[in-house]
Amino acid sequence: MRERWREMMMTRLTWALSGAFVIMGLGLMASVLVGSWPILMAPHSLGRLLSPLWDPLQGQWGILPFIVGSSVVTLLALCLAVPFALASAISVSRMLPPVVRPHATRVLAALTAIPSVVFGWWGLQMVVPVVRNLGGGSGFSLLAAAIVLAVMLWPTLSFLFAEALQSVSPSYVDASLALGATPDQTLVRILIPCAMPQLINAFLVAVARGLGETMAVQMVIGGQVAMPQGLLSPGATLTTQLLTDAALYPPGTRGHAALDVMALALVAAMAILVRISARWRVGT
């Protein structure tokens, strides 16, 4: 009898907590949607939101500069990081002796745990001065942010790329080599095409991480709310603006609703990335 009771209580407990989990998760999404409602429902909302003018004193809440900042920084960082990461993954999974391979993978995994604020700190003293010397200006710029972000994404991407390459069945590789293909041909014609779904998934993970990154970017981008005029000009991203303004506008004000719109844009972008990635998911 007691066992029956325990079983039933456990069923209820797991069910209730799973329900709470779903409700809380949906609540998070609903929270930003409800918060941004006053701005989204105002007349000409989209046009005003997508204007390049962010001027709280004039009541102008255009978030276009931040969307541009986020997109440019993330894209540029990925363009910088992907070749290096792919090269590292190839080196780890094809060049290193098999004895060293697991250790190298473990080191890469450990490097992904380095806090982003450390990259921001490093960017402040190494990347910003270099950009300043090369391109003039203050050095705080989209370019500096992209470089720091690229360095930050490198271990994650390398690790995931290496995992993708190692997931290809060795028999494919052996068959290709046995047919007389060189290692290079095998890499380009067999290994990379076969690993493509996982490679794309790894890429999407990196996009999400880059888009959501706050600290490493915030410390070197300059925090300028005007539309960036080029890669060397300072700017801001959706995340950095959320960080610097969160405590500035109390809930209920227009500014707070504008921040909610930015949060909503981020959450929506992430949700889309998750959906795309689910399409590329390989059967487990």
Partner: protein, 276 residues
């Protein structure tokens, strides 16, 4: 042997370049941080006016908030995972819980901080404090814990469960005496990674836990962590020796994370051996 390997060697060269940049980052931190990293630095409070000072309160805050968030969310995540893996019988990829988990997992930490700030600080009138920051970390960590627990439970062979049920054990007993012990090593590994990730979190904590420490420690007092301190010192702080302090704090934080990962890895290995 080396014919037709031009691409491979080129890749190795490029990879070495990337590794050197990364090594530079690590050596920079050590070179600048190590001279500052004294016993006194670890055991005293920061002193911005005179320069110097240490990071003792930040260490305590980090351990309390990260530990608290993990202690609360680890069982919560495990239970949600048990519901899917053990009670529903299988994990529905693309089911409601799975979709919520995947989306929640992808929410940027600064957005979580922003939402927790609104709910806890604006609605409930909590102060910027260790409690609010811990709540933000817990909200961030719950889906992580569900993910970690599900992958650990999935690795337990089905035959274990079938054998236990065939012997007449209830589902509850099967989970408690068969599945969880078999999954423990993976769980410990996952908890270690989550701990490391939380310790490095800063964006959400700047919004919810504040960027200073008070002389009188309390869970309702401001709770700056090590990661937040690095940010504060290098962006808002006015101390004269900011560079060294930031580097030494970064070094401390990275050593804390390394030790966490190493310990949890060893513990998991030990469990794995004990289980077989």
């Amino acid at each position: 042997m080396n014919q037709g390997r031009v691409l491979h060697w080129f890749a190795l060269l490029v990879a070495l370049g990337a590794a050197i940049v990364f090594l530079g980052l690590l050596t920079d931190t050590i070179r600048e941080g190590l001279p500052h990293l004294t016993w006194q630095f670890l055991t005293t409070a920061p002193d911005e006016r005179r320069g110097g000072g240490g990071i003792a309160p930040e260490i305590v805050n980090t351990v309390v908030m990260v530990g608290g968030a993990l202690l609360v969310t680890a069982p919560l995540g495990l239970v949600v995972a048990i519901y899917q893996a053990e009670w529903q019988g299988r994990v529905h990829d693309g089911g409601v819980i799975d979709q919520v988990r995947a989306t929640w997992l992808s929410v940027p930490s600064v957005v979580v901080g922003f939402i927790v700030y609104r709910v806890a600080v604006a609605w409930w009138h909590w102060p910027l404090s260790l409690a609010t920051g811990g709540l933000a970390l817990a909200v961030m960590n719950w889906p992580v814990m569900v993910t970690v627990s599900i992958s650990a439970l999935k690795r337990v062979p089905h035959a274990y469960r079938e054998a236990s049920l065939a012997l007449g054990a209830t589902r509850f007993d099967t989970v408690r005496r068969v599945v969880l012990p078999a999954a423990l090593a993976e769980l410990i590994d996952g908890w270690g990674w989550a701990l490391a990730r939380l310790a490095g979190e800063s964006a959400a904590l700047i919004i919810t836990a504040g960027i200073n420490v008070s002389a009188h420690w309390s869970v309702w007092g401001p709770g700056e962590t090590l990661a937040v301190y690095i940010w504060y010192v290098r962006t808002e702080g006015v101390g004269a020796d900011a560079g060294g302090v930031a580097a030494a704090t970064a070094l401390t934080l990275m050593m804390f994370i390394a030790v966490t990962l190493w310990l949890s890895g060893r513990l998991a290995d030990w469990r794995r051996r004990a289980g077989h």
